[in-house]
């Protein structure tokens, strides 16, 4: 069985692409991954996705998109993408133990949390180190926490945490925040949220779980320690491009895009945060997914005529 389109990724880009390709009667397989749904699975209320005047929970939005894609006949594989052979058509895509063949491919693997990459971090993810305040803030009731980062997502984490934690300190390596004015204002008005600028986390302390951190002031070089229970990391995202051999990347590691949706290989398209380091919104990812689907449809028509 050769699919017309294999979509890799199950965030807004991948699922929107699937809605469009299936509605165009293209036989579509979607590699959703073991943890499907993408970054929106780690958020609470999404207030900027049009059509939901009262907002919608991120996971509920993804569930709705998945159901919509299923309704038109998308086949799902809930396994992680392993590798792709883009050398010749049909393209071969391995997920879990199985290999699937597709005449065209849409890469929509998005981006994942960028971790601090300091000693003590990796083994304590889920044990005091988190990237999802909406999921985990509850466990930090009356505890001391920090949020690392200075953008909108760092502010959101801090605001959510402040509802539970005893204290929240935003640790940012620059002199000022990057977050939007409205998010800064909300965060700064909270009596529980404090700020530390020009400061970097160099080590996360604790054996079984987080008990503290080591900090370094990057202007004075001064090193200090802080006792605390939770470290929430919000310093951005890394595109999931590690497993795409033969697909050209740009200097930042994102997939290099030609004419809005094409990669360097004919018949392999790209959509969403895996190539877009600029907009990174659910609605733009969905838009890119639509574009890639329409282009793959055009391309399939041309090559089969």
């Amino acid at each position: 069985m050769i699919y017309d389109v294999i979509i890799i990724g199950s965030g807004p880009a991948g699922l929107t692409a699937a809605i469009y390709t299936t509605r165009a009667n293209l036989k579509t397989l979607l590699i959703a991954g073991g943890k499907w749904g993408g970054q929106l699975m780690l958020t609470t209320t999404v207030d900027n996705y049009p059509g939901f005047p009262e907002g919608i929970q991120g996971p509920d939005l993804m569930m709705a998109m998945r159901k919509q894609a299923e309704r038109f006949g998308t086949e799902f594989v809930d396994e992680d993408f392993e590798e792709g052979d883009f050398g010749k058509e049909p393209f071969k895509i391995k997920a879990g133990e199985k290999t699937f063949e597709g005449k065209s491919v849409i890469i929509a693997t998005g981006a994942d949390t960028k971790w601090l990459d300091v000693p003590g971090e990796k083994e304590k993810i889920g044990k005091g180190v988190s990237s999802c305040a909406p999921c985990d803030a509850f466990f930090f009731k009356n505890k001391k926490t920090i949020v690392v980062g200075g953008g909108d997502s760092a502010m959101e984490e801090a605001i959510v945490l402040a509802n539970f934690a005893d204290s929240v300190t935003v640790v940012h390596r620059r002199e000022e925040l990057r977050a939007s004015a409205i998010m800064q204002k909300i965060a700064m008005e909270s009596p529980k949220i404090k700020f530390l600028f020009n400061t970097e986390v160099t080590k996360i302390l604790g054996d079984e779980k987080v008990t503290g951190i080591e900090l370094k002031h990057n202007k004075t070089g001064e090193v200090s320690k802080m006792d605390l229970d939770g470290v929430f990391v919000a310093i951005g995202h890394t595109p999931n491009t590690g497993r795409f051999r033969g697909i050209e990347l740009d200097e930042k590691g994102y997939i290099k895009v030609h004419d809005h949706t094409r990669t360097n290989i004919d018949g392999v398209f790209v959509a969403g945060d895996v190539h877009d380091s600029h907009y990174r919104q659910a609605v733009t990812a969905a838009g890119f997914g639509c574009m890639a689907a329409l282009e793959s449809e055009t391309w399939l028509r041309k090559t089969t005529d």
């Binding site: 809930d78 044990k127 999921c135």
Partner: protein, 107 residues
Amino acid sequence: MADLNFADQDFEEQVLKSEMPVVVDFWAPWCAPCRIVSPIIEELAKEYEGKVKVGKLNVDDSPQTAGKYGVMSIPSILFFKNGQPVKTMIGAQSKENYKKVIEETLG
């Protein structure tokens, strides 16, 4: 018995003293990703009936058990065998992933 709920009070009886392996979904009503796992847990409970006990534990109502096993992120799925936790999976994952671990636990 598709909807099995565990709590602090009966955790020892239901889970730790169980002869079958037990899968426990640590969840809470305010946790949106947990809502995606819940229906999967109910399906697994049916599919493995008689072989594996599959149920849920509300961390709001049963904070002691959550604390005891160091659950600091939900959804967390813990797999118990002979009264011991043998595996923890954090974050909403696919049914396939959960099944793989159940099979390992059984095998």
